[in-house]
């Protein structure tokens, strides 16, 4: 029974929150757009800093570093998504089984998610992947093999591993709650009808997990498009591990070319929106069904 009056009162009361959120989003966005059309070199005050039209945009995409960076970004996002989803389903299935010390095991599985990205990257870099003092190097040497230089020879694989390790708990957690909400009677009925485990998994469990998986997909993609700390700590963008985010960082902070970097930022927004649009479609379909 919302009258005209109460509706406008509600709007009025929501106004501060909406204004704040709009400001939160719009101010940085508008500043990025503004800078992206200007020549803005903070370290060179002696040269003219004015409007340059689309110069920054053209320069950013025509640079040799642009397409490889987009490619690397998509490989990392895709790789991490694939690993976390597949292993996440597996882990969720295992954790769903009744076992001794279930609570403790679950806490341990979730723990990596609470380690800060910089810290976990440092941990992996120095304790596991280091070719001289790392754990893997010791194991390989004990087996009589030459240690592998993970971060320089297999930089993308190493970064995907680190990021997957961080995000696997998140995927597991969401998928585990989804599995727990699955009606056990359905499974029992299928079993009685003679369905074996693989077909029960494919025809009952997986479809039931579909919605949770799209949620994982969507949330992770949003965060993974912007991963930075892991690259900054491990390879600093060398050995073909420069993502779009890292390229923008290099343009703005290392080269101190704010205009060019802002143009890159606008491209990143566009890329994120394209990816998000695709994902929203999938989610939308899934949620309707």
């Amino acid at each position: 029974m919302a009258t005209q009056h109460s509706r406008s009162a509600a709007r009025l009361m929501m106004a501060p929150a909406v204004t704040l959120l709009l400001g939160w989003m719009l101010v940085p966005l508008v500043m990025t757009l503004y800078f992206s059309f200007r020549k803005y070199l903070p370290l060179r005050p002696e040269i003219a800093q004015d409007w340059v039209g689309f110069d920054n945009y053209i320069r950013f995409v025509t640079s040799d570093a642009f397409w490889p960076a987009v490619q690397v970004t998509l490989i990392i996002v895709g790789g991490v998504l694939a690993i976390t989803l597949i292993l996440g389903v597996g882990l969720a299935l295992i954790l769903d089984q009744p076992m001794w010390g279930q609570g403790a095991v679950r806490v341990l599985v979730i723990a990596p998610f609470f380690v800060m990205p910089t810290v976990s990257a440092l941990l992996w870099k120095n304790m596991f992947m280091d070719p001289v003092n790392g754990f893997f190097a010791h194991v390989l040497r004990a087996l009589g093999l030459a240690p592998i230089e993970f971060l320089s020879q297999h930089s993308l694989g190493s970064i995907i591993t680190i990021v997957s390790w961080e995000w696997l708990p998140f995927a597991t957690l969401i998928l585990l709650t989804a599995i727990q909400s699955l009606d056990q009677e359905q499974l029992e009925a299928a079993e009685m009808d003679g369905a074996r485990w693989p077909s029960r998994f494919v025809h009952i469990i997986l479809p039931h997990l579909g919605r949770a998986m799209t949620v994982v997909l969507l949330i992770q993609t949003i965060f993974l498009l912007g991963i930075f700390a892991e690259i900054f700590v491990t390879t600093q963008g060398s050995f073909g591990s420069k993502t779009l985010t890292y390229l923008i960082y290099q343009r703005v902070l290392e080269s101190q070319n704010v205009g060019l970097g802002s143009a890159g930022g606008v491209y990143a927004i566009i890329l994120a929106n394209i990816v998000a649009m695709f994902l929203m479609r999938i989610v939308g379909k899934n949620l309707d069904a």
Partner: protein
């Protein structure tokens, strides 16, 4: 009632801030290396003498650069003193972002600062930052392994000699690599080393028209020589080794030779940290046969005051204290002459006590042979040995060194790396309007 309480709280706050303003407090941004951290231990003495409190913000080198650069370009005013290097000082001084240090007290004796250091920290003849310590680079080598290989290190060796010696000293079975050098990406890491090395092969970054020079035979020779020597006699994974990695390799006895910062000499000869402390010899950084430039750089960490700070006087007092002769004597008395900040003052090298330190003479000689105003064989439009003092250099050189590191790791050929370096440097210089 509430209002009254709020008033009281506000009054209390005002009083606290007023109180703090009386006991003046300066904020110093600094880098996390040994000499700077040692200085923090002596801060209490400064506070006792002047009543000025010091708050330290200690950061890793790259993070420090970003923080202070952002602060100075946006006029953030977070710091009253910034620790900056020889690269930033002339650029910032030129832009008028630093308080000139041309009025330091007579007792401070600014004329005592080594001319090479004062020159690199000035713009247009005005000093903008006071050096806390200075360094060049030199060869540190294992005298015992050199003897075993049947060789004698000359005072000023050629690259050819170094390559041969490295091959002879390498003993993979005993985990000894003939030579350890920086391959790590980053303009202050592998970028600095390869630039200084290129100078000694007759290469240069830019010609007089600011055109990138990576398509010249000198650069191809430099990178091919470096990669060839390191593949044959360097440690595994050298493409990711920087100063700290090499330091630890050398201290563990895993390197025959190491060409790096002169300040490292005090770490490798310290028996508490180094297993090879008794066997270290020093020589001038190498040069190519027939090229008169050596591959040694010149660097100083210095203290500067950003223009616009309200506490310029207190900051100046602190700088005079931290970079004074008195500070050096204080450290020497407590921790020995080998631990004083080196490379800043002439008087230190006139002190017979200090000259007894094994690496003092070679450090001074290395500093004196580096010439930031004429770093290369062919003329260049820039100042700086292992860098070009233009704002764009840090960004460009970091990316260039990443291409080189990928070539060291075997992900691309040297020719590809040089072609990419040429393209990206040309592009960035165009973007900056050269």
């Amino acid at each position: 009632m509430y209002l009254k309480n709020a008033f009281r709280a506000a009054t209390a706050l005002t009083l606290i801030t007023a109180g703090a303003a009386q006991a003046e407090k300066i904020t110093v941004a600094t880098v996390n290396n040994g000499d700077m951290i040692r200085m923090q231990g002596y801060t209490a003495e400064f506070t006792k003498a002047t009543g000025i409190e010091v708050e330290w913000v200690t950061l890793e080198e790259n993070v420090l650069r970003e923080r202070v650069t952002t602060d100075i370009t946006t006029k953030g005013g977070q710091f009253d003193i910034m620790t900056i290097g020889m690269y930033e000082t002339p650029i910032w001084g030129k832009n008028g972002w630093l308080v000139p240090l041309n009025d330091l007290s007579a007792e401070y004796d600014a004329a005592d600062i080594l001319p090479a250091m004062a020159g690199g920290l000035s713009y247009d003849g005005t000093l903008y930052a006071a050096p806390f310590y200075g360094e060049s680079s030199m060869i540190m080598y294992r005298a015992d392994l050199m003897e075993k290989a049947g060789l004698t290190m000359p005072e000023s060796p050629t690259w050819e000699f170094i390559r041969e010696a490295a091959a002879k000293m390498t003993d993979r079975g005993a985990d000894v690599n003939g030579i350890c050098l920086r391959g790590k990406a980053g303009w202050g890491e592998g970028g600095a080393f390869i630039t200084a090395m290129a100078n000694s092969f007759g290469a240069r970054w830019f010609d007089m028209e600011w055109k990138a020079q990576f398509d010249t035979p000198q650069w191809a020779e430099t990178i091919n020589f470096f990669k060839g020597m390191m593949d044959a006699s360097g440690p595994q994974g050298y493409a990711t080794n920087g100063f700290n990695e090499n330091l630890s390799l050398f201290q563990q006895g895993k390197c025959g030779m190491w060409i790096d910062a002169t300040v490292a000499a005090s770490f490798v000869t310290n028996p508490k940290e180094s297993t090879v402390a008794d066997h270290v010899g020093f020589a001038l950084a190498p040069h190519k046969e027939g090229v008169e430039k050596n591959g040694n750089w010149l660097w100083a960490w210095a203290l500067a005051i950003p223009a616009g700070t309200q506490k310029a006087d207190a900051a100046k007092q602190f700088i005079e204290w931290a970079t004074s002769k008195g500070y050096i004597e204080q450290v020497a008395a407590k921790e020995g002459w080998a631990n004083v900040p080196p490379g800043a003052r002439s008087s230190l090298y006139e002190n017979p006590e200090y000259m007894k330190v094994p690496f003092a003479k070679m450090t001074l000689e290395s500093i004196l042979t580096a010439d930031p105003a004429h770093p290369t064989v062919e003329p260049v439009p820039y100042v700086g040995v292992q860098f070009a003092a233009i704002p764009e250099f840090a960004g460009i050189a970091t990316e260039v060194s990443q291409e080189f590191a990928a070539a060291y790791a075997g992900q691309q050929s040297v020719e590809e790396a040089l072609a990419k370096a040429q393209a990206l440097t040309t592009d960035a210089m165009e973007a900056a309007g050269y």
